[in-house]
C-alpha cells in the first residue's frame, strides 16, 4: 500500500487544524481539533456499545441520521460523559461551529475524550472556534491528531492512495487511544477521510466490516469507553465512478480503508497505556473465523498473559488458560503454540502439552518490541489476529491517579 503524507488532509477537499482553547490547564497541549470538508460528505460511523454513552456520541448519532456531515470537532481533556448539561453543551458546540463555518447545523460530528463526569468548558470551546477555523490548512492534520490525544504518547496519523478504476483515491485518518479500550464493544476515537465517491450505504458497510476486524480486535485494558467513535467522511472529489454496489471498486476501496484501520489499530495497541511492547495473537486453522477471533481476543486481553509478556516470560500455560475461558469451541489436545519476533520463533506447546525449549532463546524473542503469540488449532482453515500490549508498572501508575 502506498503511504502519503498529510493524514486526514491528504484526500481532496479536506483541511484540518488543532489549537489550545483552555479545556486543558497546560497551555502547551492542544485540546480542540477540527476537520473540515469543502463539500458535504457521505459519512459512516460506528459507536461504542457501552450502555453509558457520552453526550457527543448521542448528538453525533442524531446529526448523522441521514449520513451526511461536513465537519468534525473534537476536544480532549474532558469526555463530556455523565456530566451536567452534557447534551446542551455538545449541541452548542455544533451550533457555534456550524454558524461560524456557514454549514448546516446537522452536518457536524462532535467528539470528546478525557475525564468522565466533569462539566465541559463549552465557553472555552466557543472562544476557541474562530482560531480553530482560521487555522484550517492542508498541513493541519498533525495539529488535529495532537489535539485529540489524552494519555497517548505518540500521535496516530496515516494516509494512503489506492486506485478505483484509473482514478487515484486517497484515504487519510487520525486516531487516539490509549486506555479504556477493549474489543467487540466499540472502537476508540478514529476519524477517517477520503475523497472516494461512494454511497453512504456502501461506506457504512465498508466501515462496519472493517471495524469488526480492526478496532474491535484491539484490547488495551478490557474497559470499553463511553466515548468511542469512528467516522469516515467521503467527499467524492476524487472523481471515480460512484461506488454503489459491492463490486471490484468497492473491494479496492475496502482494501484501502481496512489497511488504514488495521494500521491505526496496531498503533493504538502499541501505544496502550504504559505499554512497552505490541502483542499480536494470531490464531490459525480454526473451524470458524469467529472462534479464531474469540480466542485471539481472549489471549491478548488476559492480565496474566500481558504481565508475563512484560516480564518476557514464556509462560504459555496462561495462553492456553485464556483460550480455555474464551468460550470458543476448540480441542485443547490439538493446540500448538509458538512465540515469535524479530529475534526468531520458538515452539513452546505441541498437541496441548509443553515442549522442552531453550529458555534463553525464549527470553530473547520475548524481549523485542513486537511479539507474536502464534496458535495453531489444527481443526479447519479460518484465522484471525488481535492486538494488545503488555501490562506494566506504568499502566498502574497512569491509572492510579489519572484525574489529578
Amino acid at each position: 500500500m502506498k503511504h502519503l503524507t498529510g493524514g486526514v488532509c491528504a484526500p481532496e477537499g479536506f483541511t484540518a487544524s488543532g489549537v489550545h482553547c483552555g479545556i486543558r490547564k497546560n497551555k502547551l497541549k492542544k485540546d480542540l481539533a477540527l476537520i473540515y470538508s469543502d463539500v458535504e460528505c457521505a459519512t459512516a460511523a460506528v459507536y461504542t456499545l457501552n450502555k453509558v454513552k457520552a453526550a457527543p456520541v448521542y448528538v453525533t448519532m442524531e446529526n448523522l441520521e441521514f449520513g451526511i456531515s461536513q465537519a468534525i470537532i473534537c476536544n480532549s481533556g474532558n469526555a463530556n460523559a455523565c456530566a451536567p448539561d452534557g447534551n446542551e453543551n455538545a449541541r452548542r458546540t455544533c451550533d457555534v461551529l456550524a454558524d461560524a463555518l456557514h454549514i448546516h447545523k446537522r452536518d457536524v460530528v462532535v467528539g470528546s475524550t478525557g475525564v468522565i463526569g466533569e462539566r465541559l468548558n463549552v465557553e472555552a470551546i466557543e472562544k476557541g472556534i474562530p482560531a480553530l477555523i482560521k487555522g484550517l490548512s492542508k498541513n493541519g492534520s498533525g495539529d488535529a491528531a495532537e489535539a485529540i490525544m489524552t494519555t497517548d504518547t505518540t500521535k496516530k496519523e496515516i494516509a494512503v492512495e489506492i486506485f478505483i478504476g484509473k482514478k487515484r483515491v486517497k484515504i487519510g485518518a487520525i486516531a487516539k487511544g490509549s486506555g479504556m479500550i477493549h474489543p467487540n464493544m466499540g472502537t476508540m476515537l478514529s476519524f477517517v477521510t477520503t475523497d472516494c465517491a461512494i454511497t453512504q450505504e456502501m461506506l457504512q458497510k465498508a466501515l462496519s466490516e472493517s471495524a469488526r476486524k480492526s478496532y474491535n480486535r484491539v484490547s488495551i485494558d478490557g474497559d470499553t469507553s463511553t466515548n468511542d467513535m469512528c467516522t469516515v467522511m467521503a467527499s467524492g472529489l476524487a472523481g471515480n465512478d460512484l461506488i454503489e454496489w459491492q463490486d471490484e471498486n468497492y473491494e479496492a476501496f475496502f482494501e484501502g480503508l481496512h489497511y488504514v484501520n488495521t494500521y491505526l489499530s496496531r498503533e493504538l495497541a502499541r501505544d496502550g497505556e504504559g505499554a512497552t511492547k505490541l502483542l499480536t495473537c494470531t490464531v490459525k486453522r480454526a473451524r470458524a473465523e469467529e472462534s479464531a477471533e474469540r480466542i485471539a481476543k481472549s489471549v491478548i486481553s488476559s492480565s496474566l498473559v500481558k504481565a508475563a509478556m512484560f516480564g518476557s516470560d514464556a509462560n504459555w500455560g496462561r495462553v492456553l488458560c485464556a483460550m480455555g475461558y474464551s468460550k470458543a469451541p476448540f480441542r485443547p489436545e490439538y493446540v500448538d503454540i509458538d512465540f515469535s519476533s524479530a529475534a526468531g520463533t520458538i515452539d513452546v506447546c505441541k498437541d496441548g502439552a509443553g515442549l522442552l525449549f531453550d529458555e534463553a532463546l525464549a527470553k530473547k524473542i520475548l524481549s523485542e518490541r513486537e511479539v507474536t503469540i502464534g496458535i495453531d488449532l489444527k481443526e479447519g482453515d479460518a484465522e484471525a489476529s488481535a492486538w494488545g500490549c503488555d501490562l506494566t508498572y506504568d499502566y498502574v501508575k497512569i491509572n492510579g491517579d489519572y484525574r489529578t
Copy 2:
C-alpha cells in the same frame, strides 16, 4: 456466627496434615496437603468452567461420580495442567494414597495448584505420602492450609458452629487464591468439611447455590484458572437428623456453609496478588439479582476502577463506565454512586451525573484497607455484592516473572 478454631479439623471425624515433599525447591515451604475423614463422606463439588482443565480436575470429577469421598490430597508448586502424563500422575497420586490409607481408590479428591505445563513430580508425592499420613492430626488444618498456598501471603482457614435442631454441627474450611481468579466461570481451591448429616443431593444443592453467590462473585484479575475446585465433605458424625429436603434444617446448614464460603471469598479477594485493599461493590434496588450481580462483578473486574482504587482516586466515572459494558439492563440516569469505608461515606454521583464533593475526604475514605463502592439503581428491590482488590505495581511484578 460463632467461630471455632481448628479449620477443616473442627468438624467431627476429620484430621489433616501438610508437609514438604519436594515439588517446591524451597524446603521451608510445605507443598502437599491431606484432609482425611474417619468415615466415607457425602461429597459435593463445583469445578472450573475453563475448557482447559487440569488433570486432577478430571480425575476428581470421575472419582466423585457417586458423590462419596474420604480423603483430599492437594499439592502446590505445580498445576498438573497441560503437562505430560497428567492423568496418569493424578491417578497414581490417588492410588498410592488410597492404598496407604486403606480406603477405596475412588474415595480420593485430588487437587493441584501452581505452574501450568510442567510435568508433576509424582515420585516426590509418593515418597511424601507416608510422612503426610503420619502427620494427620486434629491440629493439622493450618499445615494443610499452608501447603496449598501459591502466591497467597496469608493462609485462609475458618471454622464455625451452627445448630441443626438441638445438635451442634460444625463446618470448617481451608482455601487458597490468589491469581487467575475471575467470577462466574469457576472458583478457586477451597476444601470444606462438615460433620452435618446431609444427603449428597442436598449438599450439592447447597454448595452450588452458595458458590454462585460467594466464590463466583470474586475477581482478582479476570483470568479463570484451569485448576479451580471447591469441595464439601460431610461426615454425618454430628448426629443431627439427616437433611434430605429443603426444610428449616437445610436452611440452617446453608446459612453456615454460605457464611464460610463468603468469608473465604472476601479473604481471597483481600489477598489477591499484589493487593493493598479489599474492594466490595454493592448494588442495590436492581430489577433482578442477576442484573445487580453482573454490574457488581463488572465494576470490581475493571482494570481502570482497580487502578483508581490503588491510587485512592475517586474516579467514579470509571464505575459508571464499567456498569455500562456489564450487559445488565439499567437506567444510567437513575444511578447514584457512593464510596465508603471506616473513614466515612461520600456521595459522588446522583441520577447519573457527577456531584461536587470534597476531594480530601474522598481520598481519606479510599485510603482505607477496605473500601465499598455503593451503587443504587433505584429500579427495584434486588441486590448483590461482589469482591475484588486493587491493581498494583506488585500485581505486575508478581506476574511479570512468575515461573522463575
